[in-house]
């Protein structure tokens, strides 16, 4: 079964066309990489899948587990297993990581008619995951992303991912801003989450992460479309040659 299927997807942001007919499908258990130059619409694609209100679908279809995503609210998409790791995670002053994590986790459990976890049980549940990411316990009491370094924010996204265990994880430049050790930690985290039940779309600019997390397929987004798809060799070619050679194909 296709977890995600995009057919001729057209999206505008503030009336400006950004995506002009994206076709893409992702099967259960697959991990795909999405590459493309700055401003080509990668984040827009991630956002429209998560339901950001500013992204308007003007034509085409987005199917998630054979269900049309368009009428579904962002929160329901999330509770149904779509997770977006943000390129620029936002700061929420005064709200602790713990609080957001607990509310998110329990919202999902309510949705699936499972009992909510109380504060004690939740912390125990969280402990292994924070340890795995090398995050100190105090981390949880800090306000969400406030004053976090770029790399810390990305680790925080990964912590949320590990907690929420989505069916479809879209990770928008989860590797940017990470030091070498953190990159390995994040890669290990992603690999640990790979399963036949879970699909992932990794948005990245460099094959560095892909070397540690081998993708099933690599796509290049240009001119608001998936221009080209291939394997790891495509990622390497882009690293060496950039996007210039593809430009001609756009026009």
């Amino acid at each position: 079964m296709n977890i995600l299927e995009l057919r001729n997807l057209h999206v505008t942001v503030m009336n400006k066309p950004i995506l002009n007919g994206v076709d893409l499908s992702l099967k259960a258990g697959e991990l795909h990489a999405l590459m493309g130059p700055n401003g080509s619409g990668k984040s827009t694609l991630a956002n429209v899948l998560a339901g950001r209100p500013e992204c308007r679908v003007t034509a085409g279809q987005m199917l998630y587990r054979e269900r049309d995503l368009w009428p579904i609210s962002p929160e329901e998409r999330a509770r149904e297993g779509i997770f977006l790791g943000f390129q620029n995670p936002v700061e929420i002053p005064g709200v602790s990581n713990l609080r957001l994590l607990k509310e998110a986790y329990n919202a999902q459990r309510r949705h699936h008619r499972q009992p909510e976890l109380d504060a004690v049980a939740f912390r125990a549940h969280l402990r292994d995951r924070t340890a795995q990411l090398g995050l100190p316990e105090e981390w949880l009491l800090r306000p969400v992303n406030a004053g976090f370094s770029g790399g810390e924010k990305k680790r925080n996204e990964l912590l949320q991912l590990m907690l929420l265990e989505p069916r479809l994880a879209i990770l928008d430049e989860i590797d940017s801003g990470l030091d070498i050790d953190a990159l390995t930690l994040v890669a290990e985290g992603i690999n640990a989450l790979r399963s036949t039940e879970r699909s992932m779309l990794l948005i990245t600019h460099y094959p560095r992460l892909l070397d540690q997390v081998p993708p099933d397929r690599v796509h290049v987004l240009m001119g608001g479309r998936v221009m080209l798809s291939g394997g790891m060799e495509l990622a390497r070619k882009l690293e060496q040659q950039g996007y210039g050679w593809l430009e001609e194909m756009v026009t």
Binding site: I92, G94, L100, Q160
Partner: protein, 481 residues
């Protein structure tokens, strides 16, 4: 629009304390004149000095006009249409044990989450329960008395601790201070009294829970707290009222006196009935709260979470008379639907090296109107005085309004006064982030608003900050589409 009933019922659901206790009560006819005051004073078996004090305030009040400088708008109040006294017939002014209190009253407080049975109360909290015009019970009095702490209703204090009352009552808020304070001085019916002897650190939170029950009455309570030298006390006030279509007036006065080295922390969680989604009904809350740091190195802090009332008009203030004394004001005011709040503080620096801090968080949802009004005044003698003020406003939706009116008067050149203000709309990126993690729009708004208020909420005693958070969430219901 056929979504109106839905909104109204959502609002009805959200005010959980809107029930009425059916209980026979002694209520006087509407109207106010000298006879009413004489009757009231006699009813309470007050000494002569109190009657004279009340009458003087009444005469003063007759010559005053209702203040019009604030930004709140409401139709004229007919002071002759208000009943100035209502008490449950069963209220027993001499009740010493809980078994002497009417079970219907106990049940009311139980339902409000304030059990008066000492075995069931929150650990470490003593409660004075005021029902309409009278105090019906005060818990833990014996235990407190062992340490010399007096905690009782105002009526009892007037009867039994006349000398203290006479010395301090009206010494911070004089009877003629302002229109509502003068009215209160003339007709106040009960409230709480508290005295902490020198060097004593009060071992429990003291609190008063005000309940308006009867229709057509006003509640006029008066609270007096005296912290003698080097004593400490933390005090909390809560309140609620039934859901009614008619407005009801609440005009209270609170006076705090901190002597040398003493510390008073006063917290309020104000949850008077706010009216319905269309602005019908709700409490008009006109309150004068003022503390005086009378002794050197004394400290007074006000923390308030204002979510209720149709109109809130209050400016808890501190007179910093003692050298090195300090005052703080922390406030969250949330207005939803058609609620109006004009609230803030006055910090009057008289003594040398006095310090004050103001932190105000205003949230406007629906057609809510929210104004911060604050005065920082540094007198000529207040060498080295310092103030820092921070006023943040958050707007939810398109129809609410937020205003900041900071007044600063500095007569001493060594003083440092800083004022910062921000106004923002709720951040769409934050909302989307939370929703992407599975929170509903309403849960996301509530979480973000809670974060916005965090610094103030963390000033509340633990048990109450949890309550305040829930109350904020409930008060925001129906504020987002």
């Amino acid at each position: 629009m056929n979504d109106r009933p839905v909104i109204t019922s959502a609002m009805a659901r959200s005010y959980k304390h809107g029930f009425i206790t059916p209980i026979p009560s002694d209520t006087i006819q509407p109207g106010l004149d000298e006879k009413v005051i004489q009757w009231l004073s006699a009813k309470k078996q007050e000494p002569d000095f109190m009657l004279e004090w009340r009458l003087a305030a009444y005469w003063h009040w007759l010559g005053m006009t209702e203040p019009s400088w604030s930004s709140v708008r409401y139709p004229p109040i007919d002071y002759q249409a208000i009943r100035y006294y209502s008490a449950p017939r069963s209220a027993n002014p001499n009740a010493v044990a809980l078994k002497d209190v009417d079970p219907a009253l106990l049940a009311t407080y139980e339902k409000l989450g304030i059990p008066l049975d000492e075995r069931l109360t929150l650990a470490g909290v003593a409660v004075d329960a005021v029902f309409d015009s009278v105090s019906v019970a005060t818990t833990h009095q014996k235990k407190l008395a062992e340490m010399g702490i007096l905690f009782c209703s105002m009526s009892e204090a007037i009867r039994n601790h006349g000398a203290l009352v006479r010395r301090y009552l009206g010494s911070v808020v004089p009877p003629g201070d302002n229109f509502f304070a003068a009215l209160n001085a003339a007709v106040f019916s009960d409230g709480s009294f508290c005295y902490i002897p020198p060097g004593v650190r009060c071992p429990m939170e003291l609190s008063t829970y005000f309940r308006i029950n009867a229709a057509g009455t006003g509640q006029f309570e008066r609270t007096l707290i005296i912290a003698d030298e080097y004593s400490q006390v933390s005090y909390l006030e809560g309140c609620s009222a039934p859901q009614r279509d008619r407005h009801q007036l609440h005009a209270a006065v609170v006076e705090l006196i901190a002597l040398e080295g003493a510390e008073i922390r006063y917290s309020t969680v104000q949850n008077w009935y706010p009216g319905d989604a269309e602005g019908r009904g709700g409490i008009y809350n006109f309150v004068t709260k003022r503390g005086e740091c009378r002794g050197d190195h004394s400290h007074i802090s006000w923390t308030q979470v204002e979510t209720g009332s149709a109109i809130t008009w209050k400016y808890p203030s501190v007179i910093l008379r003692g050298a090195g004394s300090s005052g703080r004001f922390h406030s969250v005011a949330l207005t939803n639907h058609h609620q109006q709040a004009d609230t803030g503080t006055k910090m009057i620096h008289i003594g040398a090296d006095t310090r004050s801090t103001i932190l105000s968080k205003g949230i406007s949802a629906g057609h809510g109107h929210n104004a911060y009004r604050g005065l920082v005044k540094v007198l000529a003698g207040a060498t080295g005085a310092r103030n820092h003020s921070q006023c943040d406003s958050l707007l939810l939706g398109e129809h609410g309004s937020a205003h900041t009116y900071p007044y600063i008067e500095v007569k001493n050149r060594t003083a440092q006064v800083e004022h910062e203000a921000t106004t923002s709309r709720i951040d769409e990126d934050q909302l989307f982030y939370c929703r992407q993690r599975g929170l509903s729009n309403e849960e996301a708004v509530s979480l973000i608003v809670n974060g916005f208020c965090q610094e103030v909420l963390s000033e509340l005693p633990m048990e109450f900050s949890v309550e305040a958070r829930k109350l904020l969430a409930v008060s925001l219901e129906g504020s987002v589409g």
